[in-house]
């Protein structure tokens, strides 16, 4: 059955957005990512204008991450305190990022620099995560949890920062500055690259903040929820690019997908989740590289959007 989308000004078979929502919602509930990296280009492929695709996706993520946060909160996997500091940093970073784009655009050829940074970042993070989680899976088999945590120089440096506080849910002690700074870093990158940044936030929480994987997923979703509320409102208010009908179709799938993902995720170990996520991050990197190197069928595209 086809429905007409009043803001996108196009017609779509409802099976497409519901199916896409289901798949992306599943990823969201499993790994704590928003899934914009996947959803936005797919919507564009199905004829949705790029600005509408990005804005409507953020509206849909509000629903999926509410559903996912709720599912993870029920089993005690959301660290609200950590989430709050990440949000503060993320908000400031977002504002900074918007200014940074202006500067970058003025220098020209920014597109190239941004895309390259993104590919390198994703590739590095994906590769590191993949091998780290594989090796820790092997270690666990041999040593059976008897892992003496080695204090690296970096960890010692972090421990010396001021304003140390204990995050009970995650069972870690850090300086307050840490989540604010890294939240800010992801916020800047997110604004510049036009992505939510879940792919960077999750590894940062796992490897730098040393939070348990299951709490990472819940906390990341909590953080994404508030980010996307802000983005949805700004897009609707300034660009008029949120398509309500499309968002409803997407969220019909994604809210259910997020619940299924959360239930499924509980059955997997932290290392298994990390390996699969690393695999997806690497696949996305490869996909971007293909997009950049294969000759496009059309040399012209709509202006606006990412």
């Amino acid at each position: 059955m086809y429905l007409y989308l009043p803001v996108a000004l196009t017609s779509i078979n409802i099976i497409i957005p519901i199916g896409l929502g289901l798949a992306v919602g599943l990823l969201s509930g499993l790994f704590g990512v928003g899934g914009g990296f996947l959803m936005t280009p797919l919507l564009i492929m199905f004829g949705i204008p790029s600005t509408v695709a990005a804005a409507t996706d953020s509206n849909q993520i509000v629903a999926a991450s509410t559903s996912g946060t709720y599912a993870h909160w029920r089993v005690g996997n959301v660290d609200f305190k950590m989430g709050l500091y990440l949000l503060i940093g993320g908000f400031a970073g977002g504002l900074l990022g918007v200014q940074a784009i202006k500067v970058l655009k003025a220098t020209g050829n920014a597109d190239f620099a941004i895309k390259m940074t993104y590919v390198l970042l994703l590739g590095t993070v994906g590769t590191y995560m993949f091998f780290e989680s594989l090796s820790s899976m092997r270690k666990k088999k041999v040593e059976e949890e008897a892992r003496p945590e080695k204090e690296s120089g970096f960890a010692k440096l972090l421990a010396r920062l001021p304003l140390q506080t204990h995050f009970a849910k995650s069972g870690v002690t850090h300086s307050l500055l840490l989540p604010v700074i890294f939240g800010g870093f992801v916020g800047v990158l997110g604004a510049i690259m036009g992505v939510g940044g879940g792919f960077l936030m999750v590894p940062i929480m796992v490897y730098i903040l040393r939070m348990p994987m299951h709490v990472v997923v819940g906390t990341s979703l909590f953080q994404i929820l508030f980010n996307c509320i802000e983005v949805t409102f700004l897009q609707a208010y300034t660009n008029h690019s949120v398509d309500f009908v499309l968002a409803v179709l997407l969220l019909l799938g994604s809210t259910v997908g997020a619940q299924v993902g959360a239930v499924f995720g509980r059955k997997l170990k932290g290392e298994q989740l990390k390996v699969i996520l690393a695999g997806i991050v690497l696949a996305v990197t490869v996909k971007i590289i293909f997009d950049l190197t294969l000759s496009p069928s059309l040399l012209l595209a709509q202006a606006g959007g990412h």
């Binding site: 629903a63 309500f244 969220l251 950049l292 595209a301 709509q302």
Partner: protein, 260 residues
Amino acid sequence: MNAITKLFVALAAVSYLVLIAGPASAGLTAKANHDHIKIDFFYHGSTVSVSGVSDAGTDLIIKIASPEGHETLKEKGKVGGFLWMNVATLKLENVPNLYSIHSTKKIEEILDPQEMDKYVIGYPALGRHAEMSPIKDEADKARWFSEFIKYKENSKLYATSSGKIDLKKGEAGTQPYYILTEWPYQAPPGDYLVTVYAVKDGKVIEQAESKVLVEQVGIVDTLSNMAKKNGALYGFISIISALGAGFGVGLIFRKGGGAH
């Protein structure tokens, strides 16, 4: 008013009457049926048929177009020899958003090039009519204009066909014609002009016009108006609905989930 003026007025009145009534034997007429397309919730494109009567022995060209406007598009190009990226912004002026040309025979076979340019009939004529920037030279313009056509045809907004107009033999040297065209759902609301050209010996000898109006109605109209005119409320409702849906589905799953 002197006698000569009176005579002119009378002549003008008579010729006007003759014009609107048309000569009994000949005269081109055009009518687009289904000329008021309503975009409702279940809209998935439509069809528009154009029919009328022309003089026997004339060829016909039917042009359906939106008013001319401008388009801004991103150009993709190679960076560093192998990476495809958006490298520039292409601006086009005097191009319609929707443009479709249907003719009884191939346009080049029935119409002189000057006439094509005069009435902007066919892609080459549209290309000469359009203003584009930035372009280096004629070859560059031709290359990007053909990319523009590809882009438009891909979204079904530009189309051409020949030999699909159905011609019949009418009474007294007339020739009824009929064509059924697909109306793409990608065409936004607005006024569209249907122009039928009667062609003989390479020249346009007569033309007739009809209109197609595309309009949003019902929920589609309400939502699109609200998105444009009341962005804050629209954004608020979108967010609340998403929060409600996410929370609602969470509750359903808790009840169905059992002993967690």
